[in-house]
């Protein structure tokens, strides 16, 4: 795919006004984050601040550790036996890796949408109601289901088939269902790992539109390989890369640059960022 910068500038120019980077409330404060899988350090020295009601994009070449970092925000790395997280991730000032913190409670507040749509083999209704039900919510499930599907832009397509299997939906509909399922538990943060990578441009457009709509209520972190997408939807962008580390020749991820999306795409400080966004890399 060609990633020439003149593809991105129009996308940015269109929305110069709505990139609202203000001195917002900090949701996450990441310092000295490093993750290793057994003996291999996948990424290290990550320092980041994620602000409330903003969309932060993570971009960078494959294997640089974007997904790995993303999974630190809801402690999904706990589920990978070999993964070890070092450094600190403060969530509204609380260290997520404090031994007193229960990852299950964390995940109720910090939702996640995966690269591949993963609806449960249940009805559309039961998919959306899953989160509220396990959280012990019994009242007005119908209302929650309708509201979540509406927000995810799926209500009109799904309202007549709520009791049918979610596996009968198209890929794009399934991904919107997964977003609806994630917001049904009213999380505070939404982590999205390449949510559009298996979707066509129209379905992608709908999901981007949806992200802009729900951004007033949620803090969103999105991993994407699509630079136009980062330029179109995000307020801030973090560029990661992987570099050969030390004498072992192992590749280790690094956060290269983290700034306002406008700056990253039009005037990056680091030449590696510049090389990547102009397509002279990887």
């Amino acid at each position: 795919m060609s990633m020439a910068d003149d593809d991105i500038r129009p996308a940015l120019a269109e929305r110069v006004d709505d990139i609202a980077v203000t001195d917002d409330v900090e949701v996450f404060e990441v310092t000295g984050l490093a993750v290793r899988y057994d003996e291999v350090t996948a990424i290290s020295e990550v320092d980041l601040t994620i602000c409330e009601r903003e969309i932060t994009a993570f971009i960078g070449p494959s294997g640089c550790g974007k997904s790995t970092v993303l999974r630190c925000f809801n402690r999904m790395n706990d589920l990978i036996d070999s993964a070890h997280v070092e450094g600190s991730v403060l969530y509204h000032g609380v260290d997520l890796y404090d031994p007193r913190v229960d990852p299950v409670v964390v995940r109720r507040r910090i939702g996640m949408v995966f690269q591949k749509p993963n609806p449960f083999p249940k009805s559309i209704y039961d998919n959306i109601a899953y989160g509220p039900r396990i959280a012990g919510i019994k009242a007005d499930l119908d209302g929650i289901v309708e509201q979540s599907l509406t927000r995810a832009g799926l209500w009109d397509e799904a309202k007549d088939r709520l009791r049918t299997s979610a596996l009968g939906l198209s890929g794009g509909q399934q991904q919107r269902l997964c977003i609806a399922r994630a917001i049904a538990v009213s999380p505070d943060v939404l982590l999205m790992d390449e949510p559009c990578s298996s979707l066509d441009p129209i379905a992608t457009g709908r999901i981007e539109e949806l992200m802009r709509e729900i951004k007033n209520d949620y803090t969103i972190i999105i991993v994407t390989h699509n630079m136009q997408q980062a330029a179109r939807v995000s307020d801030r962008t973090a560029f990661f890369t992987a570099e050969v580390h030390g004498p072992t020749g192992q590749r280790r991820g690094r956060l290269v640059e983290f700034d306002n999306t406008g700056t990253i795409f039009s005037n990056p400080a680091d030449e590696r960022t510049e090389a990547y966004i102009t397509g002279r890399f990887g």
Binding site: N74, M76, L79, V104, V105, V106, R107, R108, G111, M112, F114, K116, N118, P119, F120, P121, K122, S123, Y130, G131, I134, A135, T164, S165, A166, L167, G168, C178, R181, A182, V185
Partner: protein, 293 residues
């Protein structure tokens, strides 16, 4: 470029299409060869068994004197009771074992050991299971019973159910589990609400096939349940079963007993058939409901 239909039709007479024809022929022959014994056994059992088979046969007592006619009521009761009890013991345990292997143990030492043990258990001949129960239960309690038979059958079914559960859970993609965890559910909730329902159709058909097999087992029952000519719906005291009665009656040298053996064989086949149908219906219904086509 000029193309005619001939360019796109299947070439004739070359080596590949001859090989293709031979392979198709071999396949058709083996289908027929497989069908022959099946059809022969079935038609012969139906032919010989239907002379006596009927509601009376299923419910009347087994004649104790050398007489023809009579029924297999006690054996039907015994088969249902013993197989049912074996199922009640082995299916819950086996499903839990399978859940442990795939969801908790994975490749830990205890899990690997359990897996090897199950494989060994699958290979143990059924008569050895009977001998085991005979030595450890019948000889110690000095009593033959339906319970002893149920335990022997349960021991035979257990490894099958464990492995079926494990295999079916392994087929459930981890993406679904991650999806559940990401919504803030615990491991037990994820297993109970996502993994197990997704694997259920397969687990049920595995379990029902194990039940159908156990219902026909003869060797382990022969010397642990004893014999009775009146229905015994209790797990204690001597009992009998269709498979055992087929063996006993068929080896007697007069026509009346042999007729009973054939009708009992037909009954057993029908029970196994009913379980197989039930397995298919149940897993089809569950698959439809979950939409995992």
């Amino acid at each position: 470029m000029a193309i005619t239909v001939g360019d796109l039709t299947r070439p004739r007479g070359n080596a590949r299409s001859i090989r293709d024809a031979i392979a198709t022929g071999l396949m058709a022959t083996s289908v027929v060869l497989v069908m022959i014994p099946l059809v022969l056994v079935l038609t012969y059992v139906i032919e010989r068994g239907s002379a006596l088979f009927g509601w009376r046969f299923l419910t009347s007592d087994i004649p104790t004197t050398r007489s023809s006619g009579g029924g297999m009521g006690p054996a039907v009761a015994g088969t249902l009771l013993i197989t049912g009890t074996a199922t009640a013991i082995s299916v819950p345990l086996g499903v839990m074992g399978g859940i442990y292997l795939n969801e908790y143990g994975r490749n830990s030492r205890p899990a690997v050991m359990l897996r090897v043990l199950t494989d060994v258990m699958t290979g143990v001949p059924s008569i050895v299971m009977g001998l085991f129960v005979y030595t450890f239960l019948v000889l110690r309690t000095q009593s033959l019973s339906g319970m002893a038979g149920a335990l022997a059958l349960a021991a035979l079914m257990l490894p099958v159910v464990i492995r079926a559960t494990e295999e079916m859970l392994r087929l459930v993609p981890d993406d679904l589990r991650f999806g559940s965890f990401a919504l803030g559910s615990r491991r037990a909730t994820t297993i109970w609400r996502v993994a197990l329902p997704a694997a259920l159709p397969g687990i049920i058909s595995g379990a029902l096939l194990a039940i159908a097999r156990a219902a026909g087992e003869t060797a382990p029952l022969l010397f642990v349940i004893g014999i009775t000519s009146k229905p015994n719906w209790s797990l204690s005291g001597t009992n009998t079963a269709l498979s055992v009665q087929i063996f006993r009656n068929a080896t007697q040298p007069f026509e009346g007993a042999q007729q009973r053996a054939w009708a009992a064989a037909l009954t057993l086949i029908l029970i196994a058939f009913a379980f197989t149908i039930l397995a298919r219906l149940l897993s089809a219904a569950l698959t439809r409901r979950s939409g995992a086509f």
